[in-house]
Subunit: 142 residues, 2 copies
């Protein structure tokens, strides 16, 4: 989660909402990404999506069933869906997202009967620091 928090700080420095994500396989970091929709002109460029895509490219396959994803914020519906498509084994996330989160809030994607893959879920990892980064980012823009 340390690397994901560093990526979140890099996102903030680039003027993006500070969220970072890391894909890990057997203790090895396969991909690290920072949230970048504005920088990349890509509405799908959340940290999770970029990390999953980079990991899939690195491993030359579209399923990452032996990988875990670490992300500083509760994933949205788009990212939760991508995590299921990628068959991620374990999802570790930081701060809750009551507005846009789709794991414990809103559509609660992984709890839906139609969800075809549920990773093991670990919430609240590094949540205090992740939430502080988000609060500072939005406070500076008000």
């Amino acid at each position: 989660m340390r690397a994901a928090l560093d990526a979140a700080r890099a996102a903030a420095a680039a003027g993006e909402v500070p969220v970072g994500a890391v894909v890990v396989r057997g203790g090895e970091v396969i991909a690290v990404a920072a949230n970048a929709p504005r920088t990349l002109c890509d509405p799908t460029a959340h940290a999770e999506i970029l990390a999953l895509r980079a990991a899939a490219t690195a491993l030359a396959r579209d399923r990452l069933e032996d990988c875990d994803l670490w992300v500083t914020l509760e994933p949205c519906a788009m990212c939760a869906g991508a995590i299921a498509h990628a068959r991620i084994a374990r999802l570790y996330y930081g701060a809750d997202d009551m507005k846009g989160g789709a794991v414990e809030h809103g559509p609660r994607f992984f709890a839906q009967p139609t969800c075809h893959h549920r990773p093991e879920l670990f919430a609240g990892i590094g949540a205090t620091e992740a939430a502080a980064l988000l609060r500072a980012f939005f406070a500076a823009r008000r």
Copy 2:
């Protein structure tokens, strides 16, 4: 929807589940994409995601509020989330997807109170042809 169905046929020819998507702005086609997760080694490479990304690149911005998306199959949670992030104005889709769909099935993403953008929805456009393509694809693989 004609162009989206052609893209779905191209996906099938490449061994991918036949789904196609088109982004249109003011009657002009901005992007066309075929489903390609295996070909691209990218779990996020659904037709909708690829079309949204290509359109955002073409227009050099991450919000497509003046664009419509046409897709041959009911979007999944990942794609519905991406459609909301992109601020797509109107969503036209073909066949229902009772297993993976997230518009009228499963998480019913656009009906969630936490959904921050709902496009106008038009279902069942070209549904017969879109569903026939999917049935033929899966029948050939059984």
